[in-house]
Structures are given as structure tokens and as C-alpha cells.
Amino acid sequence: MAALDKPQIIIHVQKSLNFTLFDCRWVPCSARLVCLGSTARGTGALQVYEVTQGQLNLVTETEKAKPLKCATFGAASLQQRHLATGDFDGNMSIWNLEATSLPVYTVKGHTEIINCIDGVGGLGVGEGAPEIVTGSRDGTVKVWDPRQKDVPVANMEPVEGENKRDCWTVAFGHAHTQAERCVCAGYDNGDIKLFDLRTMSTRWETNIKNGVCSVEFDRRDISMNKLVATTLEGKFHVFDMRTQHPKRGFASLTEKAHKSTVWLVRHLPQNRDIFMTTGGSGNLNLWKYEYPAQRSRKDDDGHEAGVTGSVSLLQNMTVASQPVAGLDWSPDKQGLCACTAFDQTLRVLIVTKLGRM
């Protein structure tokens, strides 16, 4: 690729905060973003900032009893834009950002910390009911419907007697009709499980030998296309989810991305083949996936098997001295993204030339 076409990653604004940041999310249809984390005295912090002409202005600030680990707008309607959060105590809560004193919905869903959360069915994207999935250290993955109080609509837990593995990441996908919907979960022992919510069964599982830090479908609202899973020791895997071989499952490629843990993967909302990975040393890598000429071929037994393409690094950039644990692309403005690192700094980044990729 010509050097001229390389996207640049530029820090637009950065703001040092006085609490540990775990996650940040753009409020849909706005120039506001929510960041959350844990204060020094062990309480939860929830702040809303607005980007105004190269500045981050604090809009609202709330303190909660327990540190907040993760958040999503995925299940919220555009009218309401309620934020779903998971906290250290296992509570899943939904907040109205206009009145954060009390949650709109709250449930003690897990006995231990909720590591990860994802939502689907909101924002006018995808089909079906609004649902939120949470993964926790207690080994369970639960799916919640904000219309149903107290009990999850689906609960995926290890079989009695099996070890409970820490679930580090969950992601929704395959929500292309009202009935179809999949949840993918990654565990600390390298397990990746794909649950089919329509049939209420495990559709596929694999082990990538290293703790799975983050999984994400390239799109939640289409028939499964690609899945990226990042691992503890610096590699990430890209699975082609179009063709499932009865024995070998989904075809995948592995790429060494960082010299340290790959904390996160986030696909660009405006282009599903471009994604960013964040590293344990504070660097960001921007990748592009190239499809192969043929996405599947018949093997000797006559079964269809997937064919992987290739990934190329578009740009890398070190933005922080500590791991980048939270990153979110703005759904409304291509190339705008926000990230939080453990150096207690919130950054708004600009990635240029994405439109020309």
C-alpha cells in the first residue's frame, strides 16, 4: 500500500481523570461519551463528556456504590438511549442518562464481578427483542430482556461438576431475523463457545490455548460473517463464520498483533473489514481483513469448509503507557473513536482516510 493512503491515528483530545477507567462508550446520535470505572475509595464512577471544538467537557457525573466494569448501548432504543452496565458486585443495571440517581432496571445477575456486557436489538439495528448478555467470573453467561424482571431469558453455565471458568468476554451476533441470535463467549482458559439462542444449544466450541480477552463479530445484525478473538499472549484469531464444517468447525487465521496482551478488538461501524486491536503496552493497531477469492471449498468428503483471507496492518500507534482497556468507535462519525487506558486518561482519537480504504 502506498504510504500516501495510510490512515493516521491522531490524538484529538485527552483528559486525565481521577479514577480508574474500565470502559467508554459513545452515546448514540450525539457528540457525548460515557466513561465508567472505579474510584480510589472503591465506588463506581459514571461520567458523561461532550466533545466540543477540541475539548472534552464534563456534562454529568454520578457515583455508584460498586465499581462499574463494562457498559453498552446495544439494547437501547434511539429514543431512550439507556445505558446498560455491569458492576463488580454482579449487578446488571440500566440507566437513564438524564436521571442517573436510580436505575431504570436492575438485577443482581451474578454472584461475582461482571466482566463483560453486550447488547443487541436496540438503536434501530438488527432484528428482534432488545437483549443484553453479561459474562461473569462466576462462570455463567446470562441473557437479559429489559422487559422481564429479575430472571434471565437464557442462562449458560458450566455443567454441574465442571470447573467454572472466568468468562472474560461476550458478544452478540447473527441477529439478522427475529428468531436467530447467537452469543459468543470467551473464557480465561482459551475456550470460545458459541451459543445459539434460537435452539438454546451450544453451536460450536473451540480452544485457542490462551485466555480469550475479547471477542467481537464484525456485525451483530447480519448473518454471521467474521469473528475476531484476541488472546493473552499477543495474538488474535479471525474466524470465518460463514461456513461451518461439521468436524473442523470454522476456518481461522492467527496473527501476532502486539508484544503483550491484546485487550480488545473493535470493528469500525462504517466498514466491517477494518478493526482496531488494543495492546497491553498502550498501543493501538488498525487492521484490514482481505477476503479470499473463494470463501469456501468442498473437501474430500464433500463438506463445505471455510477459507480464510488475510489481514494487513494499516497503522499502529502508541497512545498510552498502560494497557488500553476500553475503546469505542463513534457510530455516527467515521474515524472518530474514544479510548480509555489504565493511565487514568480518556482520549478521543481521530483516524483519517478510513473512507478511502
Binding site: A3, L4, Q8, I10, V27, C29, S30, A31, R32, V51, T52, Q53, G54, S77, L78, Q79, Q80, R81, N96, E98, A99, S101, L102, V104, T106, G128, A129, P130, E131, V143, D145, R147, Q148, K149, D150, V151, V153, A154, Q178, A179, L197, M200, D332, K333, G335, L336, I350, T352, K353
Partner: protein, 590 residues
């Protein structure tokens, strides 16, 4: 070699320039985007209040809803199985052969007993857990309701700012339903009522707010404003003084107090030596017309009249007396339980002092000159009420007339003078009151015979007639006040009201004391005289009145005892199903 290096340098420069341009473009683009998106954001935020319901439709049902129910049953079953197994298991372990003495020596009886106890408790524990869960749920529910109330309040405030007071009222009302303990909501609604010039409603809302939070100065200030508008100067003054105790430098309160002081002085100067607080009656909708009379606009003649509570003696030669048959006048005691009123003439406004019925006033020639000019004091405009007033005027025979002396007047011209003046300080009231007492005794004796719906209009001894059935809650309230301490009349009065009519009459929120009065009547008079189905019907219809649950909440233990007695009474009725009685009972929070 050199040219290659040069080419590279040029390319690098070009790239840098490109990048700078790109970034510049992006930033400029972003500035425009920021502006656009903020507008959209604000629109969405504004629409947030309304557009929730529409999007909730077209959604598929909650996943696995039926499965969950089945599962729960299954879990219940397995749980009970576990318990049984546990008990069995424990038994088999504890089994020691009777001949194994050494084992029996080691046997720890206490431990076994403790284990036995434990074996029997798990069920209770799970129940406790469930109770806790339910309690937690309730807590959340309450929190949610409170949150909802706050949201409604904010929405209401928004409407209020835009001047849409009716919409604001609706919001506040919804908020009050969600959280009846929040003093802010009634206080805010009172403000909206003030703006709508519904002063009585504003006052009652302020009363509620003060009941909920007696340390909320704004509620006092608003009540003061409402009372000022209702011409209750003294009470208004008290309210503003209360505001000053919370906030000694409140400018509004100081200004209003000054104004009230001036007004009071003015009325005092204008010659009205008696207490000069008037309460104009509102019309059915509770809206005070802008023509309402304030003290400052009092007509001079009204103010100048001599005290209306003095009955002037009069004499007339027998031959001058009227030859017309005597008519009985209703004489009422006014002011024993109400605040003193200055009788005032209000012409053509349809205003009418509470519950006082006066005879119609046909045009009459002026009375004899010996009498002081009958002023308009004591005369109410009663055009609308002519009919019912006539009903309450009884024609008495001569004997009765002699017995009641001055209360019975010879002709209509005299009626005008003596009609409804307060009877105090003369020798007549004693006579009348004793008569009244005697007659009441008689009506009580007679009651069992006449109870079946015969109105006692023919009972000439009745000094206070039963008012006609009320058409709105204000009338009901004032009638109740008027009939206080006359259980028979109260009974007849309430009896006139069809049970179904209660929710219709009481368009205004139900006041706790009204409810209590009604319940008391039911208990005192309905239980002995009426059948249970009617009592049930009345109780049921009362429960449909607005803000009934609030009134129930304020019931004291004695008041609850009254309600309980009623329910005990109707519980034995055959024609009412037990379920409906218990359902109603829960409504009365018994």
C-alpha cells in the same frame, strides 16, 4: 543514488502535506458534524418523554417465557426431592445397632439433635430467602416508582415553563400516583392550579404538601397565595408568617404580608366591625370567575350595614299584621363550626355562602319606616337555588307559630329582614333551640317508621332541613359540615345520594375527613336501618373516588375501627360474595 534519496524526500514531504490536509479536512468536517449531531441529540432528548411507547410495539415476545415457568416448577420439585433425600440420608447414617454399646457410648446426642433440627429447617430457610427476595423486589419497585415520579415532575416543570398548565397538572397527577409521599408534586401542582386560578384546589394541594412535608416553605407560600386569592386574609397571613420562620428574608412573603396588612386595615376602617373574611363559593368546576369579589371591592353599602348578627325587635299593631297564613322559617345556626363570615351582597355572580338556604325574595314594597332600612346584608343572591329553597320552607300552623315566636314571621316582607340573620343575643334563640332539641328527639323516635325513603319534609319541627343531594364535592363538604352533630339529618342527607353517584359528585380528590364522616354515618345510621347490600354499594362506590387510596392512608386507628365495624357487618350478607368484600376490604387497607 542521490536522485533516489531526493525522490524519497519529496515523497515524504508530499505525504506530510497530504496528511496535514487530511487532518485539516477532518477537523473542519467534524466541527460541522458536532453542530448537526448536537441538534439531533437535543431533539432526541426532547422527544424522550413521549416516544417510548411507540417503539415498544412490534417487538417479539420475551424469549423462553413459557419455558421459564416450567423450569421453575421443576426446580421446586427437585428442591423438595433434595430435602426429602437429605432427611432420609441422615436417618440411615445415624442408625446404630442396638447391641453396639461402644458406638452408643460415642454417640453425641446433642449433635444428633442439632442435625435433626437442621434437617427439618431447609424448607423454612428457602421460604425466608423468598421473602427476602420479595422484599427486595418491593424495594426496587418503590425506587422505580419514585424515579418515575421525579421524571413526571421534571416533565411537568417543562410544561409549566411553556405555560401549558393543564399538561403540567396531568404530569404532576401521574407523579403523585406513582409516589404519593413526595411533597414536591402536590406543591408544584398547586402552583399550576394557582396559575389556572383554581385557588381552592391549589389550597387543598398545598395542605397535602404541608401534611407530607411540614418544613417545605414553598408549600406555605403557595397556600398563602391561594388563600389570599380566596380572601382568607388571616390564614394567608399565617401562611406567609410561616414562610418567614423558614426563610426570614423571603421578599415575596414580606411583600405579601404587607399587602395583607393593608387590606385588613382597609376593611377595618371601612366600618365592618365584625370579622371581615369572606369565602366566596366556587362554582361547580371549582374555577373562580374573574368577577370574584375581593375585600377591597366590597360595595360600600355592604360594608356600612350594621352588624348583621343582631335581630332587631319589631312590633306591629294587630290590625296591621298580615292576614296571610304563617310560614315557617328555617333558622340555622351559622358560625358555630365555621369561620365567621361577613355576609355580603354579591349580585348576579351566582355566588352563594356555604349551605345557607334563604327564602326567595319576591319584589316587595319597602317595609315600615320604623325599621332600619333593610340592607342588602343578609340577603344572598339565590336565583339558582330558588327551587330547593322553597322546599325547605315549611308552612306552619298557627300554634306552631306561637310556640316559635319571633322565628315565625308574618309576611314575606318581614322574612326579608329576619330571614337568615344570625340569631344571637336575643331571647328567641333559646326558645327555638329548645324546640329544635325537642323536635329532634321526636324525629329520632319516629325514625324507624319513616325510614323507608319518606323524606321528612312534613316534619315541621325540623329547624334545619335536609339539603338536597349535592352536585359537587364542595357542596357535599359544606353540607356535611352544616349537618355536623345531627346524625338523623346526616343519614337522610346521605341516603338521598345514590351510591353510584359518589364518584360523579366527588370530582375533586377525596378529603380524608369527608371519607371519615361518611363512614361514620354509614356505621351510625345505615347499620341499624339499611340492608347490607346498600352499605356495600356505598363503600364500593366510595372506593372509586379520586385519591381514595390517599384518604385511606391518612385514616387513624379509630377511623379504621369504624370501617372495620362496617365490614364486619356486611360480611354476613348472603347476596354479596365474600371475595368482593375482601377485595374491597383491601382497598380500605384493612
Amino acid at each position: 543514488m542521490a536522485s533516489a534519496a531526493q525522490a524519497k524526500a519529496v515523497e515524504l514531504q508530499l505525504q506530510m502535506r497530504h496528511n496535514a490536509e487530511d487532518l485539516h479536512d477532518f477537523l473542519r468536517d467534524m466541527e460541522a458534524w458536532e453542530g448537526d449531531i448536537k441538534i439531533r441529540d437535543a431533539q432526541l432528548r426532547g422527544a424522550q418523554a413521549g416516544g417510548d411507547a411507540a417503539s415498544a410495539q412490534n417487538l417479539p415476545p420475551v424469549r423462553n417465557k413459557d419455558l421459564r415457568r416450567k423450569k421453575r416448577k421443576k426446580i421446586d420439585n427437585t428442591a423438595s426431592d433434595c430435602i426429602e433425600n437429605g432427611v432420609k440420608h441422615g436417618k440411615s447414617e445415624a442408625r446404630i445397632k442396638s447391641c453396639d454399646y461402644s458406638a452408643w457410648d460415642k454417640f453425641d446426642v446433642e449433635k444428633a439433635a442439632a442435625e435433626a433440627d437442621r434437617g427439618s429447617t431447609p424448607e423454612c430457610e428457602t421460604e425466608e430467602d423468598e421473602d427476602e427476595e420479595v422484599a427486595e423486589q418491593k424495594q426496587y419497585e418503590e425506587l422505580r416508582a419514585k424515579q418515575q415520579a421525579l421524571i413526571e415532575k421534571d416533565k411537568g416543570n417543562e410544561y409549566f415553563k411553556t405555560g401549558d398548565y393543564d399538561a403540567a397538572n396531568d404530569c404532576y397527577t401521574r407523579g403523585m400516583e406513582a409516589d404519593p409521599h413526595n411533597a414536591l408534586l402536590p406543591a408544584n401542582r398547586a402552583m399550576a392550579f394557582l396559575k389556572l386560578k383554581k385557588y381552592e384546589l391549589a389550597e387543598s394541594d398545598c395542605n397535602l404538601a404541608i401534611q407530607l412535608d411540614p418544613s417545605y416553605p414553598k408549600a406555605f407560600a403557595r397556600r398563602g397565595a391561594a388563600r389570599l386569592a380566596l380572601n382568607k386574609l388571616k390564614e394567608a397571613r399565617e401562611d406567609f408568617e410561616a414562610v418567614l420562620t423558614f426563610d426570614p428574608v423571603n421578599k415575596q412573603a414580606i411583600a405579601e404580608l404587607k399587602k395583607i396588612k393593608e387590606m385588613i386595615e382597609k376593611t377595618a376602617k371601612s366600618g365592618a366591625s365584625q370579622t371581615s373574611v369572606t369565602t366566596p363559593r366556587q362554582d361547580a368546576a371549582g374555577i373562580r370567575e374573574s368577577t370574584s369579589v375581593s375585600v377591597t371591592t366590597l360595595k360600600p353599602e355592604a360594608a356600612e350595614t350594621e352588624p348583621s348578627n343582631v335581630v332587631q325587635p319589631f312590633t306591629r299593631q294587630p290590625h296591621l299584621r298580615s292576614k296571610k297564613p304563617l310560614r315557617r322559617m328555617t333558622i340555622e345556626q351559622v358560625g358555630s363550626d365555621m369561620q365567621p363570615k361577613m355576609v355580603q351582597s354579591v349580585e348576579g355572580t351566582g355566588l352563594n355562602a356555604e349551605g345557607v338556604h334563604t327564602p326567595p325574595l319576591p319584589p316587595q314594597p319597602p317595609p315600615p319606616a320604623a325599621q332600619p332600612q333593610p340592607s342588602s346584608a343578609g340577603v344572598r343572591d339565590c336565583g339558582k337555588e330558588e327551587k330547593k329553597v322553597q322546599a325547605s320552607v315549611k308552612v306552619a300552623d298557627g300554634e306552631e307559630a306561637e310556640a316559635t315566636g319571633g322565628a315565625v314571621v308574618g309576611d314575606e316582607g318581614d322574612t326579608r329582614r329576619h330571614g337568615n340573620r344570625r340569631v344571637t343575643g336575643s331571647e328567641q334563640p333559646g326558645v327555638i333551640l329548645s324546640v329544635a332539641a325537642r323536635d329532634e328527639g321526636r324525629t329520632q323516635q319516629r325514625l324507624p317508621n319513616t325510614q323507608k325513603g319518606t323524606p321528612m319534609t312534613s316534619d315541621l319541627a325540623q329547624t334545619v332541613s335536609v339539603p338536597p343531594p349535592p352536585s359537587n364535592s364542595f357542596q357535599l363538604e359544606s353540607d356535611l359540615r352544616q349537618l355536623k352533630g345531627r346524625p338523623n339529618l346526616l343519614y337522610q342527607y346521605i341516603k338521598q345520594i345514590a351510591p353510584i353517584a359518589f364518584p360523579q359528585i366527588m370530582q375533586q380528590p377525596l378529603e380524608p375527613d369527608v371519607l371519615y364522616k361518611l363512614l361514620n354515618v354509614l356505621k351510625e345510621s345505615y347499620i341499624p336501618h339499611e340492608d347490607k347490600a346498600l352499605i356495600f354499594a356505598v363503600l364500593h362506590n366510595l372506593s372509586l373516588v379520586r385519591r381514595f387510596d390517599m384518604a385511606v392512608m391518612f385514616m387513624s386507628t379509630t377511623e379504621k375501627a369504624v370501617a372495620r365495624a362496617l365490614f364486619d357487618h356486611i360480611a354476613s350478607a348472603e347476596d354479596i360474595s365474600g371475595a368482593s368484600v375482601t377485595a374491597l376490604k383491601t382497598k380500605y387497607s384493612l
